[in-house]
Each structure stands twice: as C-alpha cells, then as structure tokens.
Assembly symmetry: C2
Homo-oligomer: 234 residues x 2
Amino acid sequence: MQHQHPHPENHLTSSAMLQDIVIGLSDGLTVPFALAAGLSGAVQSSGLVITAGLAEVVAGSIAMGLGGYLAGRTEVEHYAAELQREYQEIAEVPHVERAEVDELLQEMGLSAATRAQAVRELTADPDQWVRFMMKYELGLEKPDPRQAPKSAFTISTAYAVGGLIPLSAYFLTATPTEGLVLSAVMTLVCLLIFGYLKSRMTGQPPVWGALKMAGTGALAAGAAFLVARQFERQ
Amino acid sequence: MQHQHPHPENHLTSSAMLQDIVIGLSDGLTVPFALAAGLSGAVQSSGLVITAGLAEVVAGSIAMGLGGYLAGRTEVEHYAAELQREYQEIAEVPHVERAEVDELLQEMGLSAATRAQAVRELTADPDQWVRFMMKYELGLEKPDPRQAPKSAFTISTAYAVGGLIPLSAYFLTATPTEGLVLSAVMTLVCLLIFGYLKSRMTGQPPVWGALKMAGTGALAAGAAFLVARQFERQ
C-alpha cells in the first residue's frame, strides 16, 4: 500500500529494485494474508478462501504494478513539462528567475556580495541555470524513463510472490481453520524475517523493525477476522 | 498501493491531506472493487462477496494506515539520527565536511574563487552548516512529527470510504451478477471523476488521467474475475 518513502537522490539501480521488492513483498504478505484470515472465520470451504485470496493477489498486483507504471510515466512527463517551462521563463522573465536564484542562495546562508557573484556564474549558461532551478527551486531530479516499467514489474511480481505465501497454507490443509493456523505461522515468520532484513538494510533497529512488520500483519488479520465473522453471523 | 510520489518541498498541510485522500481513495476504489468483481464470477451469494470485500477493506485500511504511520515515524527517527551524525561530523572531521560543501557548490556550477568565499560563509555557523548538509547533501527536509498520525488516519479513512462504494452495490442488488453490473458502473464513474479531478489538481491532462484511473480499475477487476472463475471451475 502507499506509504511515504523518501527517495534518496543517490540510489543505484540495484537499490531502487530492492526498494521495489520491499514495497511489493511487504504489502503482498500483509493484505492477502489478512483477507484469507478474515474469510477463514466466516466460511467453511478452503477453496473459497483460496479463490478470494487469488482474486485479491491478481487485483492488488495489477493495481500496484500498473498504478506504479503510470505514476512513473506521469513523473517523466511532469519533469519534461517543468523543464520546458523553466527554459521559457529564463528566456522571457530572466530578472524574475535571477531573483529566484538569489533567494535560494540567501536561504542557504550566503552574503549579498557572494550571492551577486554566484548568481552571475550560475545564470551564465542557460542549461546550467535551468538545471539549478529544477533541482533547487522545484526539487526535481531527472527521472529515468526506463525506471517506470521496470519498477512496475518488480513491485507487482513481489506483491504476487508475497501474497502466494499465506495462501499456500490453505492448499496444504483440509479446513479453513487449519489453513489459518498454518498461514498465520508461515506469514508471521516471513514478516519477522523480512522486517528484520528491511530494517538492517535501511539502518533502523532490526528487532523493532521485525516486530512492527509482524504486528501490522497480525493487527490487519485480526481485524479482518472479527469483521468478517461479525458480518457472517448477522 | 505504493506508487512513487514525489514530495514537493513546499506543500501546505491542506495539500498534503489532499494527497493522502487521493492515495487512499484511488486504492480503495480499485482493489476492493476488483476483488468483489472477481468473486462475483465465482460464488452464488452476494453476502459472501460483501464479507470478503469488508475483510479486504478492513485489512487494506489497517495495512495502509498503520504502515503509513510507522513509515512516517521511521522518517522522523531517520532525520534525527542523520542530524546528530552531521553535527558530530562537522565537529570531528570539519575538513571532510568543508570539502563536501565545496563539491556540492561545484556541482551547482560555481567558480573556485566564489566557492572558497561561499564555503567560508556557509560553514561559519554550525546550525546553518548542518542545515545545508541535511538539505543539499542528503536531500532531507525536517519532517513534521504530527504529520505521520494525521496522514495515517486520512489514508486509511479514504481507503475505507473508497472501498465501501463498490461494495454498496451488492447491498442494493439480489445476486452477485446484478451486484457486479451496478458495482462496475458506480465504481468506473467514480474512478473517471476522481481521475479527472486528481489530474486537474496536479496539472496533468484531465481526460487522459480519468481514462488511466478507470482503465487500471477495469483491468484489475477483469483479471480478478477471470482468475477467480477459472479457479472455481477446477
């Protein structure tokens, strides 16, 4: 699901891919697990739990993958549009843009004399000027157009892989209740391991990261279970 | 689901909230709709579609809300840890940090003479120096600690509201097939309107935005329908 992830400027392709795997896998493990757990308290057939779970995995995987792809495309288009606008602005209203450069340098903490010299240098070349405005005024880095499809594929595959883990328990057992027990054990172990590795990777306390991830999954599954059973009883 | 959203530096609280509503609503409309559509082709009871749909809404809403909250908390902790490290570094290895400031200014396009003066000014005050490193070396803005819980609440509420729209159709009709028809009409209209407004808000072509959002929902629902029916037939 859509959390807020700061995008560090300097990540390599491999770490972008790792980040996408983390995104897909953590949601894939959590939501299909919770849905299956919820249904296990409300229906008598494991087949039904699996059918609903597979429908969710397919739906979620397409929504995340295609959604991510389209968001990436939008980012590329947005960058191109802003780039064109900046070139137009430095041509049409150079004094306004020069004042903006000066303002940004003032925020950094430069003196008036240094700023005057710095503004002259930064605005000497149009390409450099525009690059400065894009990065420091708008906070935009040039997006890689090949990143969007790659990212979409990685996220949706990771989501599907994550989602099939909790569902596989219902294949291996006879009743939804047995399925739920095995699914919960398998998924919580995966969430603990995965939360641990994810936190180590990002430099956070790993045990706490493991507990947070497993706790989120357990809470979502518990709530889905209660709601589904409540509704089915009525 | 988790797309990539650039976070513009200068957004106000209201636009951060609007962004959270967009995130929650677009996923809430898509995934529960697709799940319900998928089950409609596989089961005979509308009650079952609603039970599974509600379980998904609860699971997704908690996963997104709690996940977003914890991600926000992590961001706050990460910022605090990096801030402390930068203060330590400018105290312990000031020459290294001074060279980093110089390098950043070189990337901007400043001459050696201007950089020498600028580095002196930027590193004169430790607070200003650290703020410069945080923002321009690490690309980190000070996160608002109250933002994470607010954001989590908004996203999960929007997800739940979005998810109840497609499910409400099954309350209003007698069979899953009738429910699916009404649900698809209602949801696709909502996705079109919502995609249009979202794209207008972010300055993208609105008609294309409307079609993209409705297309994603339709594709996810269609795929879930085919998979669920295929599986139920076996």
